[in-house]
């Protein structure tokens, strides 16, 4: 097993939490992913009324008395945070802790209906009564958590929560905070559904990333959070050991056709961890199921890793959909589980790999030591981000 050194300054993940269409918690998401069946209905994955009710009920039982008045975005975020803190054994947050959240649309559900109605009726009275800028939900969240430490909201499209995780780790490394909560949340909105639809990116059937006959993306909602602590921890479930970012400088919605930006962000993540490409076991791809994304990302992977003995490549969006700004965090939950369980996942729905790519896809999930998983996110605006997540045993004994 290849080893990380203290010089690469890995940060320990000591707890995590998630909410998705699969259910509340990381385990339902993992189990659904192993089953490999899409959770989409007509191409979308929104939480059921029962799941939303469970979120609120559970938060009330955990002491959040006003939980029924929370927006879906706030409830999703808060629940994942509470799960992660419980798992990490964090009783409360202090002013020495940090909080970094990634999202694309935040509380947009509170006001987008009013705007659309004003377009229907031509009556703009009160159309801004429920308007919120992006940070207002975040402020409400800090209030609910009684949190006064450093905090940051990242809004870089589908790379938002991946960047949030990397930046939280950077805060720990520079000593800005002692511990950090990092993650993301996203709700399904008319803005994103109609927007992706008009770009002809949505699939009405289950998405099949990297498949020759792919039809497009399934949008979803959800949240995931992680507790990060400095360096070595006996409670580490994994390490966040590398972080890279780049910009395509190419187009507002189309990725660079040769994957230049994705290549740079993956390379940056490996370099920051001091890991060579040959040491990566698997790449948890952004893999949305859009032709442009899959080709871009695939070409970047081929360029960095080659095609001989390259890492396994898988996407899990065929099961849980694309949760936009929350997708990096949600999928990192699965990456951590893959590290812990020693499993390389197959890509749900992939039956005939795209002939334009030569990626190493597993035909079925299989057991093997998993040391390092590279998690990619590619966002609109050409924003790329990559995280290297590493097995707890990958930290060298030397220098400790």
């Amino acid at each position: 097993m290849s080893k990380l050194t203290e010089n690469s300054q890995p940060v320990a993940i000591t707890g995590l939490g998630a909410v998705s269409k699969a259910g509340i918690g990381a385990l339902p998401l993992w189990e659904a992913t192993l089953l490999g069946a899409s959770l989409a209905s007509e191409g979308l994955l929104s939480l059921s009324e029962g799941q939303r009710h469970s979120l609120v009920t559970d938060l009330k039982q955990r002491g959040f008395d006003g939980a029924e008045s929370l927006s879906l975005f706030e409830a999703l975020t808060l629940h994942s945070i509470v799960q992660a803190m419980t798992a990490a054994g964090w009783d409360q947050l202090t002013s020495d802790d940090g909080l970094v959240l990634g999202t694309t649309t935040g509380n947009i559900l509170l006001w987008e209906g009013d705007v659309i109605r004003s377009g229907e009726t031509g009556n703009t009275d009160g159309v801004f009564a429920n308007y919120q800028s992006l940070a207002e939900a975040f402020k409400a969240l800090r209030g609910l958590l009684k949190f006064s430490g450093p905090s940051l909201l990242v809004a870089t499209a589908c790379s938002s929560s991946t960047q949030a995780m990397g930046l939280g780790a950077s805060w720990i490394r520079e000593g800005k905070v002692k511990r950090c909560l990092v993650g993301g949340a996203e709700v399904l909105s008319r803005l994103t559904v109609e927007g992706f639809r008009c770009l002809q990116l949505l699939s009405p059937v289950p998405s099949t990333p990297f498949d020759q006959n792919r039809k497009g993306i399934n949008l979803s909602e959800g949240s995931a959070f992680f507790c990060l602590e400095p360096k070595r921890s006996s409670r580490a479930v994994a390490y966040l050991s590398g972080f890279g970012m780049s910009s395509d400088a190419y187009h507002l919605t189309a990725p660079h056709p040769e994957g230049q930006g994705c290549f740079e962000s993956m390379k940056g993540a490996l370099e920051s961890a001091g890991i060579s490409p040959s040491e990566v076991t698997a790449i948890h791809a952004h893999g949305t199921g859009s032709t442009a994304n899959d080709l871009t990302e695939g070409l970047a992977v081929q360029r960095l890793f080659g095609t001989e003995n390259a890492p396994w490549v898988f996407s899990t969006k065929g099961v849980h959909g694309h949760a936009l700004g929350a997708s990096g965090a949600l999928e990192s939950v699965l990456s951590v589980s893959a590290l812990q369980k020693g499993l390389v996942l197959c890509t749900a729905g992939l039956t005939q790999a795209d002939s334009r790519l030569s990626l190493r896809h597993a035909t079925q999930t299989f057991s093997t030591p998993v040391t390092h998983v590279l998690k990619n996110s590619l966002g609109f605006g050409g924003a790329n981000a990559s995280l290297l997540l590493s097995h707890p045993n990958s930290l060298s004994e030397e220098g400790t």
Binding site: T104, I108, E112, V115, I116, G119, E120, T124, V127, F128, A129, Y131, S133, L134, A135, E136, F138, S151, L152, L153, V154, A155, T156, A157, S159, Q163, G166, L167, S170, W171, R173, E174, R190, L191, E194, G195, R197, C198, L199, F243, G244, M245, S246, S247, D248, A249, Y250, H251, L252, T253, Q260, G261, E264, G268, S272, G379, F380, G381, G382, A383
Partner: protein
């Protein structure tokens, strides 16, 4: 690690007006035009040789409170009558300004957008400093840009209980490491200027820093 201020740019109304008439800005949003005016001024102050060597790896952090919510508003309002319009959607997301600026100036380093109401500019400056101190980037273009949703003035004034700054604006500052990344150091960056009001204008910390650098 010491972080330094290396260059600045402030969006001038004359530059904004000139850019707005150019064909490549025909579908650009207000924020995109203001941002390009500020970045254009900053870039114009840098030596060509330095730009040739460093431009492609320059990181960008955008701080904005309202981001592209003005475009989001028009996209949503137009749904019942005009349907979903791709050119409005692609400029609706909070980071669309970042995407436009990186494309326009060919900036291929790390890029991110942060939002924290009127403190967005402060947050962007501090985030840029983190990127430099942690080695993620050697030099970072910090861009503060903002402008509220057209038509929301009354509601905003009501909430903030003070006269909100309703106009749009943008400024840019280039931060680097202790050696100045090969450029003359204008000042040490010891922290972002604090801002308190108005509630919904996130560009002001970068504007204040750029103005202080200009006056020095």
């Amino acid at each position: 690690m010491k972080v330094t201020c290396l260059a600045y740019g402030i969006a001038r109304e004359t530059s904004v007006a000139a850019l707005a008439t150019q064909p490549e800005f025909r579908k650009a949003t207000r924020n995109m035009i203001y941002a390009c005016a500020a970045v254009g001024e900053l870039m114009g102050s840098l030596p060509n040789a330095w730009l040739e060597q460093n431009l492609s790896q320059m990181a960008v952090v955008v701080g904005t409170s309202e981001g592209e919510l003005n475009t989001t508003f028009h996209f949503l309002k137009g749904l019942p009558s005009a349907g979903a319009r791709p050119f409005l959607f692609q400029s609706s997301l909070h980071n669309a300004t970042l995407g436009f600026v990186t494309q326009k100036f060919k900036l291929r380093g790390p890029g991110l957008t942060v939002s924290d109401s009127h403190q967005s500019g402060e947050t962007a400056l501090e985030t840029a400093a983190t990127l430099i101190r942690s080695g993620v980037a050697g030099h970072v273009l910090v861009l503060g840009v903002d402008g509220i949703v057209e038509g929301a003035e009354e509601e905003f004034a009501k909430r903030s209980m003070t006269a909100a700054k309703l106009s749009a604006g943008s400024a840019a500052v280039l931060l680097g490491g202790p050696d100045g990344s090969g450029l003359p150091i204008l000042a040490d960056f010891v922290g972002a200027p604090e801002t308190t009001e108005p509630l919904h204008y996130g560009a002001q910390a970068v504007e204040r820093l750029a103005e202080a650098l200009r006056q020095s």
